[in-house]
Amino acid sequence: MSVEPNILILRAPGTNCDHETAFAFERAGGKPVSVHINQLLETPNMVNEFQVLCIPGGFSYGDDIAAGRILSSQLKGDLAKVIGEFHASEKLVIGICNGFQVLIKSGLLLEPDGQGLPATLSWNDSGRFVDQWVHLKADSPKCPFLNGVGDLYLPIAHAEGKFVARNEAVLSALQAGQQLAVKYCNPDGHKGQVAFPHNPNGSQQHVAGLCDSTGRIFGLMPHPERHIDPTHHPQWTRNDLPEKGDGLVIFENAINYFA
């Protein structure tokens, strides 16, 4: 294993957080490479040169039809197979915002059963895009990205981030499997009732991020790459803040996983 894990930053038409996500991985000690989906479709095996597959935020294919839908439909067939093998070989996959939408809709994050996908990310209750900061609690011992992470303060910027499971059974199974990895919480850190705007989109169980049953595929709506420096914090002019923004640890954990 190399000292600097290689990070594949997957780019598609409309991806727009690739640059700063690559920067965050770099700052965390990784070696990011931006790869266009056309290139990956042509040579799916190139995935094997990487340790982390990251699908960054943006509006892949304009989020036409539904957010992340078209890119997720491209991650099937040969590509799904190599990503499956990639995952099985103890490597990591992360999707941020649009990347999370892609992971969930492609079936990579939660496997479809006889009735189709068990859950999705749907339109915010407000019915529109919103950019705001949210308080989060991470709670999944199995997700390497969240190793040692408790509270987080990160921005969201999305229109379709409401987590909806097909039914209660799906929800309880995910909860039991410690897959509801990140949740919106109140500013005082309490979970309990998290009303709008602290739960900004109406997500069931206040879910902001999920991992798969192994913990190694992780998706979240908030943008950790937008809080890696203290000056990203909306109140940095008020308080003395630590040198690292809250989001950086997620990238560092990914790197340290291969240390």
């Binding site: 409309g14 727009n16 304009g62 539904a66 097909r166 937008r226 000056t231």
Partner: protein, 1020 residues
């Protein structure tokens, strides 16, 4: 299967003739076709038009219907209206039912939250309403209108391996019973905008999506040689050329010398090149200006005022001149750091936004992004700014003149248009403002600005002779034909019917893809020049680039959205998301390969042949052969008269003596006035943090909801250098004196920048003049007056103008339905100043929210009795008074000292004083910081001789409130030498308390101040 005969000829005799759908001959034949296919066998490859309707599952919100109902409520339409909605796709191709089920379930439907129905278009199942919702309406995009979602869906379905031909999206609404006039309002005001969409009442009865008819070349000539003056004027009108008689005569003379008539393409090209929009002939023309000081003759008004200021500043700066390229490229360029420059441009997109707010704003932002992309060899867009002017969203429907859209609908559409384009492009929208005045009712203003970062060595371009002319990005359609000439004409209540061709819809992803490959091509040195296709399309882009060389264009090579475009339509189309490159032949293969690798279409459409002529060909036929010199130098100068008569300063129409209670009420009223009220509903819909460089956000403070003065971004993530972006505008002052309005706008933009930590010695500014009908000497007079102030202030501040744009003739004419008389509404003279400042170290930036109890509060700058045009006068309904005048020399010194204080870290918070003066500023600082403030004005009142209300609400320029920690007070006051006066302290108490020698003059709680400020535009 017996397929109904399909009408594929151009003129369907039905009500659909305006659209590209064919209609079956009769519904009986349609019924035969509706037999569901028993088994979808793969061999059955007849082309079918499938209809897929997708609705929210039980228990899921009906988002589309909810939006329409909210709009209906805004307009006061039928409280009893009940609505349900579906979205859908028409998919045309040789598909059987099973295949369509596959497509629906793998691609189109979100099964966890949605359900769907599918069938052949027109199947009876789609025509059935339920008992509660018998009304049935389909809304479809008009023929030729960009439908980005359909384009994406088509590609995605093809990628799944289905050979489909066409896709269209639609929305379907089922409504409760409506009276006919209610139905008409629902269809025309809420469900659809007839300039881009059509409503079909009842079931869809379509058999085919037509893909256009092949074009048969037929060269059109325009008979100008033998025309008399009235015929020349008629030609200009008939062809929508917006050319004056003198201009038509010049064209006539030119072609008489050539001894032939021009082709339509030639006369259109000249009209585009000479349009106000492209050549700014009025402001860059001869003006004879008369005011109280006498008459001044300008050969080129802009050059002798605004440009002249920049030239002088650059000369004064000498070696340390930081301008790079001003007033010549698509955007102005200034230096940033050792390796980079920055480009800034602000455009207006007013006329298109009046007709179709969403598409107008959408293409406005798309266009200005292409401006920075097309600056030098290409700048990477790093942030946007958007400023709008509307009539009040609370205007009663019955008060609107005929032919205008309700301002609330315009505002929602414009905001959504900017949001959807900017967010998809991944460019943070970090700054903006919204102004309201009833006179914007027929002419809303939409200013879109963009800043780009480019390597120093990529700041200039030069097309080389024999370079290929390459178009990349979107395809060409009939979008926006006559946009350039249309935007130079006055709007009327018939505009929404006569100018349908002017409406464009953007497709942000096409532009994003273009940008992605373009910046790679730039860094690989694959082209020698680039420009965007904006107003005038290829005509302007190629005409400008080839001005010094000559060009030959092969119009039949341009990729089209659909068949049937004539050579002239291809040439002048304003289809979006296209850019034109000048590429040396040797580099073309690599450029093409790069574009292909990211699925971006790139096509050679001609060559810059060194002939000095612009030659257009369609196949072998020459359809235009124009001298570049005539196009660019041949326009007869425009000569205008401008008169300005100063309005004498009058007394305020009422005394400004106020009680303590009245002061509180006035403060709450100003905080609640639409111009001052929180714009969080707008701001939060924009992604202002994408690209990861956000330093100071538009909303700041302890709850992230206070009004910041300017935003700061860090364009290079591992550098500490930042850019501050702000703006200034105050149309109310213009009603009193356009000189002071302009001076105040510049001052406001600059002081906003300085307040967050920008260096006042390096602030670049941009002008955008939006005015009424400038053929009227009095109207042009106010503009010249404003331009003179621009010169005066810019030179003192040493803040150069680096780019600008004007939009003239913003007047709306209509026939009053009751009197039958012709009425005209002119917008208030509106000058937007946008400022871009540089922040040497982002770690020293300052925000406006109060930070800690016990800190001292200082006022910088002098308060005068300047309540004319103020918000205090506005909320009290008062006229008269003096508008704020500017002392730029004193201001400049203050700004430099403030910057020094910020650099010494002695400023904890800083807020500029603008609308509502001192009272509003301290109130905003207090509620943003969640801390109280206690001020005593006694020294200030004694010193100035003002009343408390004057001191609280006067809008005198160049002032700030600054919060200083006790340990820094000594050095702070020393630095300002009397220009900083201590007014009071920050407190823990949740109150704002302002006294005069212990006597209360204003008291309010933070909660009520904040609520007053947040509630007016806190929309759902």
């Amino acid at each position: 299967m017996n397929q109904p005969s399909v009408i594929t000829t151009e003129n369907s005799p039905s009500k659909f003739q305006n659209c590209d759908f064919a209609v079956p001959d009769s519904s009986t034949e349609m019924a035969e076709a509706q037999e569901p296919q028993a088994t979808g066998s793969a061999q059955d490859t007849e082309t079918v038009l499938w209809q897929i309707e997708i609705s929210p599952d039980a228990g899921q919100p009906d988002r589309l219907a909810r939006n329409i109902l909210a709009d209906a409520k805004d307009l006061g339409i039928s409280a009893s209206l009940s609505l349900s909605a579906s979205r859908g796709f028409l998919v045309q191709g040789p598909l059987d039912r099973n295949q369509v089920v596959q497509i629906a379930e793998t691609l189109l439907v979100e099964a966890v939250v949605e359900k769907y129905e599918l069938g052949r278009c027109g199947d009876p199942q789609f025509g059935v309403g339920d008992a509660a919702h018998p009304g049935l309406f389909y809304v479809l995009p008009l023929a030729g209108v960009t439908d980005p979602e359909a384009e994406s869906a088509k590609l995605a379905i093809q990628q799944l391996g289905y050979p489909i031909e066409a896709v269209r999206t639609f929305c379907k609404y089922r409504s409760s019973v409506l009276a006919p006039e209610q139905e008409s309002i629902l269809c025309n005001k809420l469900l659809a905008n007839e300039s881009i969409e059509q409503v079909v009442t009842g079931p869809l009865q379509l058999s085919e999506i037509q893909l256009g008819e092949p074009y048969q070349l037929s060269i059109q000539h325009v008979d100008v040689m033998g025309a008399d003056d009235s015929q020349l004027e008629q030609i200009s009108r008939d062809w929508q050329l917006s050319l004056t008689l003198v201009e038509m005569q010049t064209i006539q003379e030119h072609f008489q010398q050539l001894n032939r008539n021009p082709t339509d393409a030639e006369i259109e090209t000249i009209a585009q090149t000479w349009s106000e929009h492209c050549s700014h002939k009025t402001l860059a023309g001869r003006v004879s200006y008369t005011d109280e000081k006498g008459t001044r003759e300008f050969d080129n008004m802009l050059k002798e005022t605004i440009f002249a200021a920049t030239v002088e500043i650059r000369e004064m700066l000498g070696e340390s001149d930081w301008c790079v390229s001003v007033f010549k490229d698509n955007a102005g360029i200034v230096t940033f750091d050792e390796q980079h420059n920055v480009a800034f441009k602000v455009e207006t997109h007013n006329r298109p936004s009046a007709l179709e707010p969403y598409g107008g704003a959408n293409t406005g932002i798309g266009g200005v992004i292409r401006d920075t992309l097309g600056t030098g060899l290409g700048a990477k867009p790093i942030c946007s700014t958007d400023v709008f002017c509307f009539a009040s969203p609370d205007t009663p429907l019955e008060d609107l003149p005929p032919g205008v859209m309700h301002p609330r609908r315009i505002m929602k559409g414009v905001v959504a248009g900017v949001r959807d384009y900017g967010n998809r492009m991944g460019i943070p929208t970090v700054n903006g403002a919204v102004y309201f005045d009833p006179r914007y009712v027929g002419n809303p203003l939409v200013f879109c600005g963009n800043i780009g970062l480019l390597p120093k060595e990529k700041s200039f371009k030069e097309p080389l002779p024999n370079d290929l002319i390459v178009s990349i990005g979107g395809r060409t359609g009939r979008d926006g034909i006559h946009g350039a000439t249309f935007s130079s004409a006055e709007l009327t209540d018939a505009s929404d019917i006569t100018s349908g061709g002017a409406v464009q819809i953007g497709n942000a992803i096409t532009e994003k893809m273009l940008m992605d490959v373009m910046l790679q091509a730039r860094d690989r040195n694959l082209y020698s020049a680039v420009t965007d296709c904006g107003a005038g399309g290829f005509s302007s882009a190629v005409g400008e680039m080839g001005e010094e060389i000559g060009a030959e264009v092969w119009l039949d090579q341009a990729p089209l959205k659909y068949d049937g475009l004539s050579y002239t339509e291809i040439w002048i189309s304003e289809a979006q998301e296209r850019m034109v490159f000048s590429i040396p032949e040797a580099k073309w293969p690599e450029f093409r390969e790069l574009c292909e690798s990211e699925s971006v279409e790139a096509t050679v459409i001609g060559q810059f042949k060194p002939t000095g002529q612009l030659i257009l060909k369609y196949g072998d036929q020459v359809v235009a052969d124009l001298s570049m010199q005539f196009m660019h130098e041949g326009r007869p100068p425009v000569i205008r008269k401008a008169i300005y008569q100063p309005v004498p300063v009058s007394e305020l129409s009422e005394s400004s003596e106020r009680t303590t209670v009245q002061n509180r009420e006035d403060l709450l009223a100003i905080l609640s006035s639409l111009n001052v009220a929180s714009k969080h509903w707008v701001i939060r819909q924009y992604d202002h943090e994408v690209q990861g460089g956000s330093v100071i956000k538009p909303l700041v403070g302890v709850e992230n909801d206070g009004p910041g003065d300017a935003s700061v971004v860090r364009p290079i993530l591992n550098s500490r250098r930042g850019l501050a972006v702000s703006c200034g505008m105050n149309p109310y002052y213009g009603d009193y004196d356009p000189y002071h309005m302009a001076a105040s706008a510049i001052d406001e933009a600059i002081r906003n920048c300085v307040a967050v930590g920008a260096d006042p010695r390096q602030i670049a500014i941009l002008d955008n003049f939006c005015w009424g009908y400038t053929d009227r000497p009095e109207t042009l007079g106010t503009l010249v007056r404003a331009a003179l102030a621009c010169y005066d202030v810019s030179t003192v501040y040493q803040s150069p103008f680096i780019s600008g744009k004007d939009s003239l003739n913003n007047e709306f004419s209509y026939t009053d339905p009751t009197s039958g008389g012709r009425e005209t509404i002119s917008i208030p003279s509106t000058l937007l100043i946008s400022a871009m400042g540089q922040v040497p170290d982002i770690g020293r930036c300052v925000t406006m929210d109060l930070k800690s109890a016990g800190n001292a509060i200082y006022l910088l700058g002098a308060t005068e009795n300047e309540l004319g045009g103020s918000h205090w006068s506005l909320v009290n309904g008062l006229q008269g008074g003096a508008v704020p005048v500017l002392d730029p020399h004193a201001a400049k010194q203050r700004y430099e000292r403030l910057h020094d204080a910020i650099n010494q870290r002695s400023v904890r918070s800083c807020h500029d004083l603008s609308e509502g003066g001192l009272a509003v500023a301290i109130a905003e600082m207090a509620f943003a910081g969640g801390l109280g403030a206690e001020l005593d004005l006694s020294d200030e009142l004694k010193r100035s001789g003002l009343s408390a209300a004057q001191c609280l609400f006067s809008e005198s320029n160049s002032r700030f409130i600054v919060e200083v920690a006790p340990e820094h007070e000594a050095s702070f006051t020393e630095l300002f030498a009397g220009d900083a006066r201590r007014l009071g302290v920050v407190t823990e108490a949740p109150d704002l308390l302002i006294c005069d020698a212990g006597e209360e003059r204003l008291r309010a709680t933070l909660a009520e101040l904040k609520a007053a400020w947040q509630s007016p535009l806190d929309w759902d």
